[in-house]
Every structure is written in C-alpha cells, then in structure tokens.
C-alpha cells in the first residue's frame, strides 16, 4: 500500500516536474542544441562563460560533448534523462555549490573527444593496455577554460580603477 502511494506520489511529482519544465522553460528550445539554452540556468553560468572563452567555443556546443553520439536513440534518451535531472535538482535546489561532472558524464565526454579527434589520437589510445585516463587530465582547459575563471560574485571592479 505504502509502496503504491509512494509510486503515485512519484508519478505525480514527475508529471508536475514535467509540467514545470514545460512551463518554466521554453520547452521546445531544449529539443535543440543552443548553448544559451543551458545557460538559462544561472548555475550553468560559469560553465557557459568559461566555454565561450575556451578553444572549442567556435567548433563545439554543449551537447556535442555532453550527450552520447553513438546513435539517435541514446542521444535523445540521455538528453531527456540529463535534462530532467538538471531541472529537478535546479527546481528543488538539491545541487551543491560546486557542481561536478558525474562519472557517467565523464565517459560520455571522453567518447565524444575521441569521436571528433579519432585521427589524432587513434595511435595513442590504442595499445596493449586500456587508455586509462581522461583527455582533460592533460587538456585541462580546452573545454571550459581555466578553472576558477568566473569564481567571483558580481561586483563592481570599476571602483578599483584609479
């Protein structure tokens, strides 16, 4: 019985969240791949801003790296899943101050790096032992620039100019 109620509540929450999602956001924009969509959420500010300063801004948008590209099914499934996750935790403020990519995200990104750069890295990813590190353990700033770049709260720097 309790389980059923919980399930019901769960479904209700899900539908409500979906509604909220559609209402609160320009839902159709999320079907696209505009980086500014991600930046709708101020919590994505730092990543957005740093991305615009980094090497890939001209050539790759958020979803190029953050969604799986094996096939259309996994692309849209994951898009729905991660979008919902972001919206839920944003709505219910369950996110931490410093947001971190999950391991699952890391694996998706890694596959995408290799997808675009297979010509370049084929030689080094191959080998008798698995390639056991993420590309960005060296390329620490290609995706989102220097860390800590947009650390500071909005404040008037002008007052320091003599």
């Amino acid at each position: 019985m309790l389980k059923k109620i919980l399930l019901l509540v769960g479904i209700l929450v899900f539908v409500a969240a979906l509604g909220l999602f559609a209402w609160a956001t320009d839902a159709s924009s999320y079907l696209g791949h505009e980086p500014s969509t991600c930046n709708n959420c101020h919590v994505m500010d730092a990543q957005y801003e740093n991305w615009t300063h980094a090497a890939h801004a001209r050539v790759a948008v958020c979803v190029d790296c953050h969604l799986p590209h094996q096939n259309a099914v996994s692309y849209y499934l994951y898009k729905g899943y991660s979008g919902m996750k972001d919206v839920l935790s944003f709505t219910f403020k369950t996110y931490p101050d410093s947001i971190r990519a999950t391991q699952q995200t890391d694996q998706i990104i890694q596959a995408n790096c290799i997808r675009c750069h297979s010509d370049t890295v084929e030689n080094i990813v191959a080998g008798p032992q698995p390639f056991d590190r993420y590309c960005w353990s060296c390329h620490r700033s290609v995706a989102h620039g220097e860390r800590g770049l947009t650390l500071y709260p909005e404040q008037d720097s002008e007052v320091y100019k003599k």
């Binding site: 609160a24 956001t25 320009d26 924009s29 500014s36 969509t37 709708n40 959420c41 101020h42 919590v43 931490p96 101050d97 410093s98 971190r100 860390r147 800590g148 650390l151 500071y152 709260p153 909005e154 404040q155 008037d156 720097s157 007052v159 320091y160 003599k162």
Partner: protein, 420 residues
Amino acid sequence: FLKNQPPQSRTFQPVTTVKPLEPDSSIWGLNYPNEYSSLLATANNDTPTFYGGSAQKSYLVLDPRLVILFAGYSFAKDYNQPRGHQNTIVDVQATKRVTATTHATCYSCKSSDNPGLWAQMGMEAYDAQLFSAMTPNIKDPIGCANCHEAGTMRLIITNPAVAAALKSEGIDWTTYTRQQMRSLVCANCHVTYYFAGDNKVLTVPWGDGMRVEDIIKFEDDANTFADWTYPGTGTPIMKARHPDYELYTADSTHFKAGVSCADCHMPYVRDGAMKYSSHDIMSPLLDPQRSCGQCHTDVDVVLARVNVIQDTVHAAKIQAEDALIDAITALQAATANPNSDPALLAEARTLHRHAQYMWDFISSSNSMGFHNPDEALRILQNATDLARQAQMKAAQAANDPSLLKTGVYDSLDPKPTPAP
C-alpha cells in the same frame, strides 16, 4: 521566466546609506544581509582540523617546547590557535598576555571601532593609551569597517601602520587591482609587527622588504629591537607574529598563480540566484569542496597533499625547536660560566636571535606551512642550522665541549607546562 533572457542586471539598491567608518556592522548588514549573517557565523565555529580549525586549542599544551622557547615572555603563559573574527574582543580580553601595563595597541586588529578612533585621535595617541583605558571605546569585534569603504564597498587598507609600511616599501596600494586587494585587505592584520618605543607605536617592519631576512635586517638595524631578553642566555629576542601575508606572497605557488586569500577563505556561496562571498572566514579544510573545488577538480588529491605538506612542515618545525632548545641550554651554561669569552658569547647570542626569529616566522604563521611550503621549509632549515651554530659558538665561548649535548628536550621529564 527562465527563458533566454538577457542576464539580469544585478545592480544593487541599497536600503540605507552607511556613513563613513561606521563601526556597527549590523547597519551595513541592512544592505548586505548575506555578508552580514555569514560574518556573524564566525562566532560559533568550533570544529577542529588536524592542525587548525576553529576550536580553541592551546599551542603551549599541544607542543610544550614553546613554553621553553618563550620563557620569560608573556607567550609562555597563554597562546592559542586563533578562532573566528567575531571572537576577537572576547579573546584579547581573556588572554593572560594582557596585563595592567599593556597598551591599547593590542586592540588594533580586534575591532571595527578602530578606523573611526584612529581617524579621530590619530594612531600614535591611540597606542600611547593603556589597554584598560581604551576598553570602553571598543564595542565591536572585527566588522565591515575593517575591510570596506562605506559607499563604494571597495576593499581598502584601514590600518595606518600597514599603510605606512606599504609606503616604506614604495607601494601605492590604491593602484592595486580588485584581485590583489582580495589578499591585501587581510594584510590589515595578518602581518608581523612590533611596538616601537615607549608609546608602543604599532610598526610593521617592511622597510627592507617582506622576506624573513629583510625583516631581521630591519629589526636588527632598528637599534637591535628586542621584545624581551631570554632568561639565562641574555639574548635579545624579537617575536614574530603571524606573518601570513608575508609568507604567502613570498613567491608561493598560489600567489604566483594569482590566487588570493579570499579565494580560499571566502569562497562564494549561493543564496538562490545570488552569489556572495562567504564572510564566515575559517579553515578552508572545513569546506574544501567550496574552497578548493572551484579550481581543483579532484579535491581528495589536493587534500591528501595538504596532509603531506603539513606533516612535513610540522616535523621540520619540531626539528628546529629541538635544535633551538639544545642551543639555549648550552648558551645558558656558557653565560653562567664566568670564564666564557664575551666576544664569542655575543656571536652565539646573535645566532640564537636569528635562529629563533626564523623558526618563529614559520611557527607563528598560520596553515602549518601550506601557504608556502618551500619557503617554510627553507626557513626552517636555516633556523636549524643557525641554532646548531649558536650551540657550537656557546661551547667555543666556554671552551667546553660538554655543552654540545643534543636531544635535551627529549630527556626532559616532566615536560614543561604553561607559565603562571
């Protein structure tokens, strides 16, 4: 409402106008409730970390060697790990280091009433008064007026002694950038100092530079300034005091990389849509995700390094202390020996003086070396070497190789306890 809007204009509408040098932080707090309430939170922090944290711990109990090294001076009575900024008045009034003859200078870094008082009466007159005479004027612990200019909210130098020291170095701090001010503002207090002359004028000894060698030279030149004379050895000792800014800016990794004190000690936190700087200043190890995580993806890795660094520097510090205690023991015996060569004795005292200052420079600075590990270890190597040379010189002065005993502290039983 979350649609692709232009970034909200975050221009801030003040609720009230804060008058210049306003000592009462609660008035500033009307405009900036987040900053204010986080500042208040420093009153109640009490979580320890391995070497630091906000609990009140007695350095003298944790390491009884300090009782010997500060023998004859007030620091042998009472000397604690610092706590949060809201506790300053309570703590300075409670410490046994303050006596009936202590000057008001001891309030300099403890209250937001000071900028107003200094503007009114001048720092020299303030410092000339007794501590007890100043007490009625001191109502507020550290507050907004110690760091900010009312109106612009710019970070500023509020301590005239620090302003003078910067000037003596040829530095015009008003040209500093915002990021530089995010460190320099801490230098209002987290710097070493001494009291010059009978009026106990607060002095920051940067005239020759901010490295430990420069400060020793400056204090040596200032008529061989001494805080006290070491009992039995006759050494004129100078006390180092929390040279946090000096140590950090001595080419440390983070300083060179442009990181500021506030980046680690005042990480931003979110209140809904707003980001603000946490004014709940404490050990960053108590909230490393926030303090370090913005720059270091793998926080566990850097925390592990903090442990390695702190343990290494702690061991180096103890090693210097053991060498100093051996030297002091020898120098006491040599001083007691009427046949000792006075010229060699004087040389031994100078070695002791310099060794002890170098050690204290690191011992009295915070973070157990993390702020600048290489510089800390370099200085402690010098302290150890000079202490051993002081001991050798003492043995030469007394022409007595039996003064060359090592491991004196280890053989003490019981270990010393804080002086009464």
